[in-house]
């Protein structure tokens, strides 16, 4: 009887895990099989020409470039803000001190705030500053969105820096600031994974950019122009009644998925390498 119950539960667990993996496979397969037929070079090398949304010539280079510009700027801003925070709570303050705990808690909560709220907040800030929907607006919102992700993941690797190393630097007469520099060098691979994670999250998010960055058919040439982004390109093309345009939405989805897959595998590769060389 006990054995039977165990067998049944084990079978259920296997089934649940299998279902989850099958769903993942199903999603990937569906996106690939739907997206592949209309994927061509024009998609990634051309901006929409006249009548693009009626099924005519063109591609989504505007969205690809828009997304890349947006995420590059956001990641730079966000790393400048989150690296100091992570270093501060780990090395200036004691990692397990009460103050660190409170700061970490606050960032954990920020991590849970949905992207639509960051979008609405970004929108509010833009109106306050008198900005239209623009690349800059998008950058503000996305930087806020990915900042907690970065703090969290840098914080995690920072915890693995051996205490002895830090104490050794201090005992050799280094200042606290110099010690932090040593620690920062120790966690460089961790920072890389943090960046990759944030890029993945930031590039795929639609709700923030929908409210802040707007959409346009050309590649933005200044921060104050609106910028198209990949998730929105997918969303808008999908809502078109024209079949060609819908098919392009699927291939745009495939492009975004490929980007995410590459990011995901690179992250895994780096973190595996890192844990291999850990002291």
């Amino acid at each position: 009887m006990r054995k039977l119950e165990e067998q049944i539960m084990k079978a259920l667990m296997l089934l649940a895990s299998a279902i989850i993996m099958l769903i993942l496979g199903f999603i990937l397969w569906k996106i690939i099989s739907k997206g592949l037929p209309s994927l061509n070079w024009d998609m990634v090398t051309k901006t929409p020409s006249g009548g693009f949304y009626l099924g005519k010539e063109g591609g989504i280079l505007n969205a690809i470039m828009g997304s890349l510009m947006l995420i590059t700027c956001s990641v730079v801003i966000s790393i400048l803000l989150s690296l100091p925070v992570a270093l501060y709570i780990n090395f200036i303050l004691h990692r397990k001190s009460r103050a660190s705990g409170i700061i970490r808690f606050a960032f954990d909560i920020m991590f849970g705030i949905p992207s639509i709220v960051y979008g609405a907040f970004g929108f509010m800030v833009m109106m306050y500053l008198g900005l239209q929907a623009s690349l800059l607006g998008g950058i503000i919102a996305v930087s806020l969105l990915i900042m907690p992700i970065m703090v969290r993941s840098i914080d995690e690797v920072a915890g693995q820096v051996p205490r002895e190393l830090l104490e050794a630097t201090l005992s050799l007469g280094a200042t606290r600031y110099e010690m932090v520099k040593i620690a920062a060098r120790q966690i460089t691979p961790g920072i890389t994974t943090a960046i990759l994670l944030s890029v993945g999250r930031g590039i795929g998010d639609a709700a923030t950019v929908m409210l802040t960055a707007g959409f346009t058919d050309s590649i933005p040439t200044s921060l104050l122009q609106p910028a198209a982004t990949l998730p929105l390109a997918i969303f808008f093309q999908l809502s078109s009644p024209v079949e060609e345009v819908q098919n392009r939405a699927y291939s745009s989805a495939l492009i975004l998925t490929i980007i995410i897959l590459i990011l995901s595998f690179t992250t895994r590769y780096i973190s595996r390498k890192m844990s291999g060389s850990k002291i």
């Binding site: 006990r2 649940a16 895990s17 100091p84 808690f105 705030i113 795929g204 639609a206 998730p231």
Partner: protein, 283 residues
Amino acid sequence: MLGITVFGLLVLLVISVGLLYKSMPVIKEQSLYDLLFTSSWKPSKDHFGFLTFILSTLRVTFIAILIAVPLSLLSAIYLSEYASERTKKMLSPGIDLLSGIPPVIYGVWGTLVVVPWISDHLAPHFVDFSTGYSVLAGGIVLAIMIIPLIISIIIEVFAAVPQELREVSLSVGATKWQTIKRVLLLKSLPGVLAAVILAISRAFGETIAVLMVCGNFTEIPKSVFDACYPLPALIANNYGEMMSLPNYESALMFAALLLFVIIILFNAGSRLILNHITQRYQL
């Protein structure tokens, strides 16, 4: 560094104050009760009742949790207690990937697969007609999105339960499953609860994927096959027009504030539980 840290913390404060300030006009004009518990939504007449949207959000989330929790719990037990190192190495990249797929891709998949399936195969057994864009479609898509989150937290919670406890139970003759049931699950009940709360708050805020499959229809859904209109979708769909009508902007900011407050409370609660758990077993 201290300055930047303080700046980071201020963001949280500025968001809440800003949203509150912006939603003040509509709160003053109508009572809070009126906003939350009436369902007439007439922006042009300056009346905003959020009940339809709140109920939509609650129903979609409820379905998502109903589907996601059993699947994730079973899978998490398997991954942390039964699976071999090799199986873990095969499954965990999958779960990582599932959490990395952007919401809009889930939305595309939902419109391609879930929506037609509901309208062609499932709904005809129960109701006369459904477009497929429904509460159920939103719930299913959302369930898949929160599964990786629940799994990864539960695995962490299980890992915090000391190995000795399991060994003691096994040594007095309990089977592995009995140990899981009576020791592991009992010990990690608060943590599992925290994971579920975290998943609920995540589901509340999810925008684009749900928006794409739930139909966006301003009427309280009668069945799971009816269209619905969750709060985040309301904000995302109307930010364009909100400047033209008085108080519309304020009402939408109120929607954002509502999400923000609920999610912060839920998050804070579950994080407190989780922190407590990991600290207790840490030496």
